[in-house]
């Protein structure tokens, strides 16, 4: 920053010094010529000083304008204009002084005229260089490699011309002609780069036109005044070097003027189309709004609204509506400048005339339906365009655009709105996918909670007694299961046991399981006989279980005093009992209907009271159907026989060991530890 400022100061100082030397040298040369004396200063000094002045100013503007990133197009034009304005004002001030001096001798003095001329020339070149730098920025606005090279060549050529001027070596006519032709051609080609004009909006274009016009005016003024003075001096002195003989000045002037006039004309002719360009820009912005609407946590509704707004503004529609089949299949209607009644009228009109695939949702093609509207007298609209909105190849809605003019939509408009509709479809699809993902995540979270709840419902410790030992095992598939077992001591010699299987899976199963646990813990401590327990449990459950779900259960009361087990089975798997006296395991045969199946009071008649006497060494195995229905790779079930066999072969072991053998045999049979069901077992070994 500091460096740039320093360079700007240095170059401006340099230019000023050069100019002062230029003026003195020139006047000296002129004076000596007039008096026919040999000049004190070399004749070439004014030329060299002019060159140095030009180079200093060139760098001054390079740092002043070219490096300033903050300038936009109109700012650049403003710079040119401002420089021109200041130069003109100074020039006019000089003229005023001349006017005030009137017809005194001074104004007719050649040396004084030369001084005035030099001031004007300096201002003129200053103005030209400012314009030149600005034009460079405008031309190089959208750079290409080729363009940058062309410009470099152009600048080098100009520098060459400048050097040629000062050295004043006369080259052959042909070479200088070729150089001039190449420079002008290049200048013309470069002047064709007017891309910046397209980025101006309507107002900026007007400003540019005004600035350019005034700049041209200043240029012409300077050209005029400099020419007049130089002619005046030339008439009186042969040593005077006319600026016109300075090829560089001419080239620079030509280029600046050409580009200035080109720009003026291009901006002028672009005025009528500027609204189109602005329209395009707005379309791009609208497009972005649609595609970004999901990222900003907006709802589907806002996507629809943006679609409606953008479409209407892009094609200048007078009215529009959007029919959408929502995620839950509900029909929704968004309207713009049209009542729901009117949309219905148009709908029924089209239906009446059997116009297929128009607004009906099965259509997947954009339709121009304007011709069908002409027969509907009640509507003010004469053009209608319908677009399908698709999500995953399924049409979820229709966008209809209306105009009061007949033939109001062209192909271009159709294309734009079609793109909008597609983008909206994608946005909505993403939206729905995201929603689904959320739902799934929530569902999984719920299952996790249910599973924790279910696990916590199972007892952490089981009642033990000198008369028997109990071990239990329960595992559930990925989903939440509904297996339940528990024990409760009723009195010193009475212990209640339960095993249950809730039909269904998931959160409801866990929920019913917790109800079963509540029933067990409240009823069992009252010590009812098993059949009464079942009757009461059924009565409590029928009001909680929904249609089609039930709970199978077996309830036991072990009486250690009478060495008897009382039980009632409600639809649960039969009890497997090993009698040590017979050394045989068998299933107890009894009857009983699951809880929740019979809703009337006579449920008592569907369950039985059963009992058996136990002896030390007897084993009772309770289980759920997950064990007996486990399948191997041949689709065979584990079955009752295999279970009975395992028990018979391992009956001498402890309850824990028996249980382990059952599980390991089961795993071996199914060939995996991942059984696709809940399976639970409770083993009671009497002693």
């Amino acid at each position: 920053m500091f460096k740039t400022k320093a360079i700007i100061r240095l170059t401006s100082l340099c230019a000023a010094i050069c100019w002062v030397i230029l003026v003195f040298a020139d006047i000296t040369v002129l004076f000596s010529d007039l008096k026919a004396l040999p000049p004190d200063v070399p004749v070439w000094l004014p030329r060299v000083m002019l060159d140095l002045y030009v180079v200093s100013l060139f760098y001054y503007y390079k740092f002043r304008i070219e490096r300033d990133e903050g300038l936009n197009f109109t700012d650049l034009l403003w710079k040119v204009f401002a420089t021109g304005l200041i130069a003109t004002v100074i020039s006019l001030a000089v003229r005023l002084v001349l006017f005030l001096l009137g017809s005194t001798k001074l104004p007719s003095n050649v040396l004084f005229v030369d001084f005035v001329y030099q001031i004007n020339l300096a201002l003129f070149i200053n103005f030209l260089l400012a314009a030149f730098t600005c034009w460079k920025r405008l031309i190089l606005y959208q750079k290409s490699k080729w363009l940058i090279r062309a410009w470099l060549v152009f600048e080098l050529l100009l520098l060459g011309i400048l050097l040629y001027d000062s050295i004043h070596v006369v080259l052959s006519e042909a070479i200088s002609t070729i150089a001039i032709v190449i420079t002008s051609l290049l200048g013309l080609v470069l002047s064709a780069n007017m891309r910046w004009v397209a980025y101006l909006n309507f107002k900026q274009k007007w400003t540019s036109l005004l600035l350019l016009l005034l700049s041209i005016f200043y240029l012409v003024y300077f050209l005029y005044s400099v020419t007049i003075w130089s002619d005046q001096i030339t008439q009186q002195s042969g040593a005077f070097v006319n600026f016109q003989s300075h090829v560089f000045n001419i080239a620079l002037l030509a280029f600046v003027l050409t580009y200035m006039s080109f720009s003026f004309l291009v901006v002028l002719f672009n005025l009528p189309t500027s609204s189109v360009f602005e329209q395009k820009l707005e379309e791009v912005v609208n497009f972005q709004r649609i595609s970004q609407s999901i990222q900003t946590e907006q709802s589907e509704e806002s996507v629809y609204n943006i679609l409606l707004e953008s479409s209407v503004s892009s094609v200048f529609a007078d009215a529009a509506w959007l029919e959408i089949k929502g995620a839950a299949n509900e029909q929704r209607l968004f309207t713009y400048q049209i009542t729901e009644k009117e949309t219905k009228e148009i709908h029924t009109h089209l239906e009446k005339h059997k116009i297929k695939g128009a607004l009906d949702q099965s259509s997947d093609k954009t339709k121009n339906l304007s011709k069908h509207l002409s027969s509907l007298k009640s509507t003010r609209f004469r053009s209608l365009l319908a677009f399908p909105i698709k999500v995953k190849d399924e049409t979820i809605g229709t966008l209809a655009l209306l105009k009061e003019l007949p033939e109001g939509f062209n192909k271009e408009m159709t294309r734009i709105v079609s793109a909008f509709a597609n983008q909206a479809g994608i946005s909505i699809e993403n939206f729905r996918l995201m929603e689904e993902a959320f739902q799934n995540a929530r569902y999984k979270e719920e299952l996790k909670i249910a599973k924790t709840v279910q696990q916590s419902l199972l007892p952490t410790r089981l009642e033990q007694d000198p008369d028997f030992e109990i071990s239990a095992f329960s595992a559930s598939a990925d989903e939440v299961g509904g297996d339940y077992y528990d024990t409760l001591r009723i009195s010193d010699h009475e212990i209640a046991l339960i095993i249950a299987d809730v039909s269904g899976k998931g959160t409801t199963a866990a929920f019913h399981m917790s109800q079963m646990k509540g029933i067990f813990h409240s009823l069992a401590q009252l010590g009812p006989n098993p059949r009464d327990f079942m009757a009461k449990a059924n009565k409590a459950l029928v009001f909680c279980l929904e249609r089609g779900s039930f709970i199978s259960a077996t309830y036991f009361v072990i009486n250690t005093e009478s060495k008897k087990v009382f039980y009632s089975r409600a639809g649960h798997c039969p009890v497997l009992l090993y009698k040590s006296a017979k050394q045989k395991s068998e299933y107890l045969k009894d009857k009983g209907t699951a809880l929740g199946m019979v809703r009337s009071h006579d449920y008592r008649n569907f369950v039985e009271d059963n009992e058996f006497t136990y002896e030390p060494g007897d084993v009772m195995v309770l289980y759920t159907d997950g064990i007996t229905e486990a399948k191997n790779n041949k689709s065979e079930e584990f079955g009752n026989e295999r279970l009975a066999e395992v028990l018979q072969n391992n009956a001498e072991k402890s309850s824990k060991e028996i249980e382990e053998s059952v599980i390991s045999t089961l795993y071996k049979f199914s060939g995996s530890e991942d059984i696709n069901d809940d399976y639970t077992s409770m083993t009671v070994k009497f002693r």
Binding site: D501, G504, S552, G571, C573
Partner: protein, 116 residues
């Protein structure tokens, strides 16, 4: 997977179940029975000869209709069950709540008697 066919014979609606009924396919069974009841048949027979397996959800479907069938005086008889399937019914105690017969003839006879 399950395949459910319905055909009418002597004024009775026969629902034949082919395959296995688990939690997902039980919905089809539910639909079939609901249709039959909705169409006003007074005699509904369920052909279980080709029923290979039924889960508790499938049993739940039969169970859920028991009261409605009784209220509407519809005679509902299942027949031709394989032993394994029948076992599932009887363990749960549904065998006592539903009318189950060995073959179609007996089932028809029972249905006729019940509808008198």
């Amino acid at each position: 997977m399950v395949h459910i066919k319905r055909l009418q014979e002597d004024g009775a609606d026969i629902i034949a179940i082919v395959g296995e009924i688990d939690a997902s396919s039980s919905i089809e069974l539910d639909l079939a029975i609901a249709k039959s009841v909705g169409e006003g048949y007074k005699k509904i027979l369920v052909d279980c000869q080709a029923l290979e397996y039924i889960s508790s959800a499938g049993l739940g479907v039969f169970m859920s209709y028991i009261e409605e069938l009784r209220d509407k005086n519809i005679s509902f008889v299942l027949f031709g069950m394989k032993e394994r399937v029948l076992n599932t019914f009887s363990i749960l105690g549904l065998a006592d709540l539903l009318n189950i017969r060995e073959n179609k003839q007996e089932a028809k006879k029972l249905a006729d008697e019940l509808s008198l």
